[in-house]
């Protein structure tokens, strides 16, 4: 005669509890990190924000240089990235190169910025004998080429295939379809990608710093912050610069979010 055993325990329950607790703890930790960062930057930097434009950090100069760097690097990145993205998203434009490009994008997106910066520095030292902001801009362009191409290709891929097929059935060529259908319908997604890349360029430090060095005050804002950030005595003026930098990046990211929303609603309609 068999023995009576208790019903098997609910083995699911402990794992449910762990996952739920981890998710709640993660959410709380993320919120705490955001609040701590924002509070620290605002509490230390708000009072000095007015004076930071005339202080040793030269916030105004840094901001101007940051905008100058983005104004040069972003159009070049777009000019290369958009046609390359057309290759990645349109099989007839890309032909055999498309497969190689997609494979290359998969591994080249994770290149550390500092490595690209060091390479740009070596090229500048070899050919120009000095590294400056030009080397930093070149590093930014190389750093963002794969990223921009991948983002633009994703934007173009979000356009429904039916629109392309209808145009192709009406006899339109692949290039014409790309410009008159895909570009037009993906305009908000491309804007979102452009703004996200601009935000990345404004905040990028390692690549520009390694490529150009931070030898003078005539440097973009992140480089100026990096120069003085380790000096505890300058914490308030550094915090003011951080406020301006974070607001600049946040403005670009917020606009990108709005553009992404517009793209989604235009695709749904």
């Amino acid at each position: 005669m068999g023995t009576v055993t208790s019903a098997p325990l609910d083995t699911f329950r402990p794992r449910d509890a762990i996952v739920t607790a981890l998710a709640y703890a993660s959410g709380a930790a993320t919120a705490a990190a955001f609040v701590a960062l924002a509070t620290a930057v605002v509490a230390l930097g708000w009072a000095d924000l007015r004076y930071a434009f005339s202080g040793p950090v030269q916030l105004g100069t840094g901001l101007t240089y940051s905008l100058l760097v983005v104004a040069v690097a972003l159009p070049v990145t777009m000019a290369i990235g958009i046609p390359a993205a057309a290759c990645a998203s349109e099989p007839i434009v890309g032909t055999q190169i498309r497969v190689a490009l997609l494979a290359s994008l998969r591994w080249s997106l994770g290149l550390p910025p500092v490595v690209i910066g060091v390479a740009a520095f070596f090229v500048a030292m070899t050919f120009v004998r000095s590294a400056g902001i030009g080397a930093g801009i070149a590093a930014l362009i190389v750093l963002n080429l794969s990223n921009a191409t991948a983002r633009f290709a994703q934007a173009y891929a979000s356009v429904p295939a039916a629109a392309r097929e209808a145009a192709a059935a009406a006899g339109a060529s692949p290039v014409l379809i790309f410009f008159s259908i895909v570009q037009r319908r993906a305009v908000w997604a491309v804007s979102a990608a452009t703004l996200t890349i601009a935000a990345q360029m404004i905040g990028e430090t390692s690549a520009v710093l390694a490529a150009s060095g931070a030898r003078s005050a005539q440097a973009p804002l992140p480089l100026q912050i990096w120069q003085y950030a380790s000096d505890a005595g300058m914490a308030p003026s550094e915090a003011s610069s951080c406020i301006v930098l974070v607001l600049s990046v946040a403005a670009c990211l917020s606009l990108a979010r709005v553009c992404r929303g517009r793209h989604r609603s235009s695709m749904a309609s």
């Binding site: 699911f12 449910d16 509890a17 996952v19 739920t20 981890l22 998710a23 709640y24 703890a25 993660s26 959410g27 919120a31 990190a33 609040v35 924002a38 620290a40 930057v41 290369i80 046609p83 057309a86 290759c87 190169i97 290359s104 998969r106 591994w107 080249s108 994770g110 290149l111 550390p112 500092v114 490595v115 910066g117 060091v118 390479a119 070899t126 590294a131 190389v142 080429l145 990223n147 991948a150 290709a153 060529s173 290039v175 404004i202 430090t205 390692s206 390694a210 060095g213 931070a214 912050i225 990096w226 950030a229 380790s230 000096d231 550094e238 915090a239 951080c242 930098l245 974070v246 990046v249």
Partner: protein, 268 residues
């Protein structure tokens, strides 16, 4: 027959695609050339021993930062997308998205000004801890975005079927969604490790601040020391090129692990 302008555009697009493909290879080739033929060559014995110690610090800080940052990012994605509906979920989503607006240099300032002085004791461990926090904060927002994307890609029918069978949100997450996104999750961890080992600006600020404040700075990460040398580099230093190659290889190794475990969609 395509017009000449259309043929020109297609040819230009293919040429620029080749430029995009070759740019990372050019970076690797420049570093290999500089490592072999650099003007300034370090003493091999001292260089290898110092690089070994730096590599240990890089891998340790990168692994811990990635482990904490990616876990917190994915956990937050589960919270906002699956468990914490309503206003709290939206507020935490805003916080996670807001974190992505803090560039690495600001995180480094935070680590040096707020975290480092608050850590008990003036030891190497305090610096290590502060650097780990900076890397964690740098990795978290991207892991959140990728985690939310992975969860968004799951077909709603899967959730509906589990809920219809009486499963709670926690049970759906633990027993339906995690198995469904296992491969992308492994990819996100590998992606986080790739970013963490290459994190330079924030970590270098913490190490420089510690050195200025009189902490016993015995270790530096490789990427941090590369940026730290930025102000003093004047020539093509073979040692710097070799160190940059090590960072590149570490990042590529982490990426390879991610690709083998299923990987993630590129671009985010």
């Amino acid at each position: 027959m395509a017009s000449p302008w259309e043929r020109f555009f297609a040819a230009m697009a293919r040429t620029l695609a080749v430029v995009v493909m070759l740019a990372p290879l050019a970076v690797a080739c420049i570093l290999v050339t500089a490592a072999l033929a650099g003007a300034q060559r370090p003493d091999p014995l001292r260089f290898v021993s110092s690089l070994g110690a730096q590599m240990l610090a890089t891998v340790a800080i990168g692994s811990l930062g990635a482990a904490f940052g990616v876990t917190a990012g994915i956990g937050t994605a589960f919270f906002t997308r699956e468990l914490g509906a309503g206003r709290i979920g939206r507020a935490i989503d805003m916080a996670a998205v807001g974190l992505s607006a803090f560039p690495a240099v600001v995180l480094g300032w935070f680590g040096a000004t707020i975290v480092l002085p608050e850590v008990l004791g003036r030891t190497s461990a305090s610096i290590f801890f502060a650097a780990c926090i900076v890397v964690t904060l740098a990795v978290l927002p991207r892991a959140y975005a990728l985690g939310a994307l992975a969860l968004g890609a799951i077909t709603p029918a899967l959730r509906e079927a589990a809920t219809a069978a009486g499963a709670s949100a926690g049970r759906v997450s633990a027993h339906v969604l995690i198995p469904a996104v296992r491969a992308p999750l492994r990819g996100i961890y590998a992606d986080g490790l790739t970013r963490a080992v290459g994190e330079a600006a924030g970590v270098s600020i913490v190490f420089l601040a510690a050195a200025r404040s009189g902490y016993p700075v015995s270790l530096f990460t490789i990427a941090g020391s590369l940026v730290g040398h930025a102000q003093t580099m004047q020539v093509t230093d073979a040692g710097i090129a070799q160190a940059a190659l090590v960072v590149l290889l570490l990042a590529l190794a982490a990426q390879r692990i991610g690709a083998r475990s299923g990987g993630i969609q590129w671009a985010r």
